[in-house]
């Protein structure tokens, strides 16, 4: 029995022991989300790293609480996997950097995450943000300052804004996030200046930016805080320095966000302006001068008018000119410049006028004025020039129309100006009426000129083709030349008549006729008999009458050669000529 009781107690003890071992882990398993911060107390230039770790789920993201006192930036996430006694567990850590917006004590509320349909939340964390000035002076490694030349200004008055970044540690990735000047016109005053200075016995490197601000609205304007972020190298004090630290480094980068304080400026309206107010606010001067004191009528003199000073110099315009009836005035291009490298914005603008006196005498350019508002004296002031005397002597030569005016005395260059324009005179040459326009004749000539060359070309082509054909075909050539050769032959008969050899004339006439028929029909003509001739002529369509006449004549000519019948050579040609023409007309090949 005892042993059975002991067994029961043993089982209970084992279960208790097991419960003692496993219960804490089971309780811990319920805290599926945890939040932690790297520091609970920081200076306003520092930032807090908030880490939220979610156990057991890799997909869920935490929902952050409202953090109106901080700017929140995500710094990424990391996953951890653990194997303990053969069991695997995983966790995901989300890291955020919280940049404080103000000093004080703040509570970071609960971050939540929904896992398996159940909402889990973290415990709130309280942090304290100390003002930068609360840290010991010797421990302030970097800080910002911003100041203005005055906190009470008139509309348009120049306010110099000076922004400085003090540092005594090495920094990287410095970036000015915002520098807004709503309600102001802004002009840069030079580049960023770098210099060294000592504050409370501590030496700092300083970067300085200057801006000239010109308020455009009446009322209380605020220049919002300017923010600068940078990275600072911080050596870890927890880890012992080892040899490897020198090789790989043990320092970590810490992001610092610095802010200036907002600056309030009271902007007052200008008092009621007097007539002729130029719109300039600041300290200005007006200068005037003539390039010569004595000139001749027709010559020009340059009036130079310069406005210079400090203030809203970008507003400088041309001062009003007095009435200058005795002069013709030509404008020249103004020049000017703005000086930004000094402590304030200053500049000048020069206007040049070429004055041409219209008459001789002792003339005068009257005094000129420029009214501006002086914020130091809080009143309007008027700058004046003195009257400029000019002696104009009569022209020595005959006055000529000057088409050019000297606008840059000293350089000798002149600008040509068209003073008047007119039409050019009429044409005087009589060739204007030398030829009367005859449209019909002109058109006929044009048509002829256009058509004749192609017609000539066609003629050339036809002639060339014909020449080629005859060159290639000897029969054709014989046919073409048959009548011509026969006529030549007839001329020889006429010449023989004087020799009184009638038989020879008859023989020649017979040969002429037969050779003509032979040439015309492309056969050997001299050997033709009257019968063959008759047959050939008939077969080529010659009418019966001509055939018979040809045969009869051939027979008579042959008879005349061997008989006493004498045929007059002149009569022969008289008979043969029309016969040959008749045959030539009738023979078709």
């Amino acid at each position: 029995m005892k042993s059975r009781f002991d067994k029961k107690i043993s089982v209970c003890l084992i279960l208790l022991a097991a419960g003692a071992v496993f219960l804490p882990s089971a309780a811990a398993g319920e805290e599926r989300i945890q939040a932690s911060v790297d520091r609970a107390e920081i200076y306003e230039e520092d930032q807090i790293l908030l880490q939220i770790t979610i156990e057991g789920s890799r997909g869920a993201e935490p929902t952050l609480p409202e953090l109106p006192d901080f700017d929140v930036f995500s710094r990424g996430q990391s996953t951890q996997m653990n194997f303990i006694n053969g069991r695997m567990s995983s966790s995901v850590s989300y890291t955020y950097s919280l940049v404080p917006r103000r000093t004080g004590s703040f509570q970071i509320g609960s971050a939540t995450v929904e896992l398996d349909g159940e909402v889990h939340s973290t415990s709130p964390i309280t942090v304290r943000v100390l003002a930068a000035s609360e840290q010991p002076a010797e421990s302030r490694d970097l800080f910002l300052s911003a100041k203005v030349s005055t906190r009470s200004a008139f509309v348009g008055q120049q306010i110099v804004y000076t922004w400085r970044f003090y540092r005594r540690v090495q920094i990287g990735n410095a970036r000015v996030d915002s520098m807004d000047f709503d309600g102001f016109t802004v002009e840069e005053l030079g580049e960023v200046r770098e210099f060294q200075t000592t504050v409370n016995g501590v030496q700092y490197m300083v970067s300085e930016i200057r801006r000239a601000l010109f308020p455009q609205e009446v009322g209380d304007l605020v220049i919002p805080p300017s923010r600068l972020s940078c990275e600072v190298l911080v050596r870890s004090s927890r880890r012992r320095r080892s040899l490897l630290d020198d090789v790989f480094g043990s320092a970590s980068r810490q992001t610092k966000v610095l802010r200036t304080k907002p600056i309030e400026i009271e902007v007052r309206p200008l008092p009621p302006a007097p007539p002729g107010f130029s719109g300039l606010v600041g300290d200005f001067a007006l200068e005037a001068g003539l390039s010569k004191q004595e000139i001749q009528v027709g010559e020009s003199v340059t009036l130079r008018l310069t406005v210079k000073g400090s203030g809203n110099v970008q507003m400088i315009g041309q001062p009003a000119l007095p009435v200058l009836d005795e002069f013709k005035i030509y404008d020249d291009k103004p020049d000017g410049g703005i000086e930004r490298s000094g402590t304030t914005l200053s500049g000048f603008r020069s206007y040049r006028k070429a004055l041409v006196p219209l008459a001789a005498g002792e003339l005068e350019v009257p005094e000129m004025t420029l009214t501006f508002f002086d914020p130091d004296e809080e009143s309007f002031r008027t700058a004046r020039t003195e009257a400029l005397p000019l002696v104009v002597r009569p022209s020595e030569g005959e006055e000529e129309l000057r088409l050019t005016e000297s606008v840059a005395p000293g350089t000798g260059k002149v600008a040509v100006r068209i003073l008047a324009d007119d039409i050019l005179p009429p044409y005087k040459g009589l060739d204007a009426v030398a030829r009367r326009s005859q449209s019909t004749l002109d058109r006929a000539l044009l048509l002829g000129g256009l058509l004749l060359p192609p017609l000539g070309f066609v003629g050339t082509v036809v002639a060339q083709r014909r020449r080629r054909r005859f060159a290639l075909d000897s029969g054709l050539r014989r046919r073409r030349d048959a009548l011509g050769r026969a006529r030549k032959c007839l001329k020889r008969i006429e010449s023989q008549s004087e020799g009184e050899d009638a038989a020879a004339a008859s023989q020649l006439a017979s040969r002429c006729l037969r050779e003509y028929v032979g040439d015309k029909l492309d056969v050997e003509g001299s050997a033709l008999t009257p019968a063959e001739t008759e047959e050939l002529l008939r077969s080529h369509g010659v009418d019966e009458e001509a055939v018979e006449e040809t045969c009869r004549l051939l027979n008579r000519l042959e008879a005349a050669q061997y008989s006493s019948e004498k045929l007059e050579p002149r009569r022969l040609t008289t008979v043969l000529t029309p016969l040959l023409k008749n045959l030539d007309r009738q023979i078709r090949v």
């Binding site: 009429p426 005087k428 204007a432 030398a434 030829r435 009367r436 000539g456 060339q464």
Partner: protein
Amino acid sequence: MKRRSTLLVFGLLLGSAAQGQVLELEAPSTVVNTENESEGDLDPGEAFVNANTAYEAGDYLLAIGLLKRLADQGFDSGHLHFNLGNAYLRNGELGHAVASYRRAAIRLPRDEDVRANLAFARQSTKDALSPPEPSAVLSTLFFWHYGLSLKELQVVVLSLNLLFWGFWAIRLFHLDSEVLRWIFILLLVLLVATAGSLFVHHFFPLQVAVVLPQEIEARTAPDPESVVRFKLHAGTEVKVKDRRPGWLRIVLPDGQQGWVEEQWTELVEG
């Protein structure tokens, strides 16, 4: 002197008659009737010299009359139209002056005096409309079309025509000559280009209407009762797209169209 006074009287009479017709419109005033002056033709040289003398003496009306008579007799040189333009301009007739200068510019396309006076006359026009002129690209690409007068173009075409057919005929006997072949191709291209230009000049001449009175109305239809679309002023040059009896359909550079009465414009072709 008698002749001059006769011209003046006719000019004034006809001018006032024209003014009566258009009521508020200031009609072209100078219509110099020369029919009654002499039965025969003027001696051209003498008339031209007299016209120049009258111009220099400030008698622009007489100069206009003489030069117009010469033009009616068939004298059609660019310089004659140039002088006529000068006389019209001095007489205050901007529309006629622009038309005459335009005619002179067609006949003397490269004459700087003509261009200068035409530009001067155009400066006096009221309407901000660019005259119908070819663009710089077109006038560069087709320089022979816009840079030569019709007469010059005719001479060039006739010469090229003769050369082209002559070379072709020579080529018939020298088919193997490579030089002749290229000359032939070159001549063919030149002839086609210039003959095409001559064709366009003859059959599709640019018709430009120059407004004569101080103001005329362009209507939506060739009907005096139709709606007035826009108004044009003296000396303005507009392209003519169509013609109906007594009416011209004009096109502005921006494509707007309207009908104007032909009697209030002077038509220049070329």
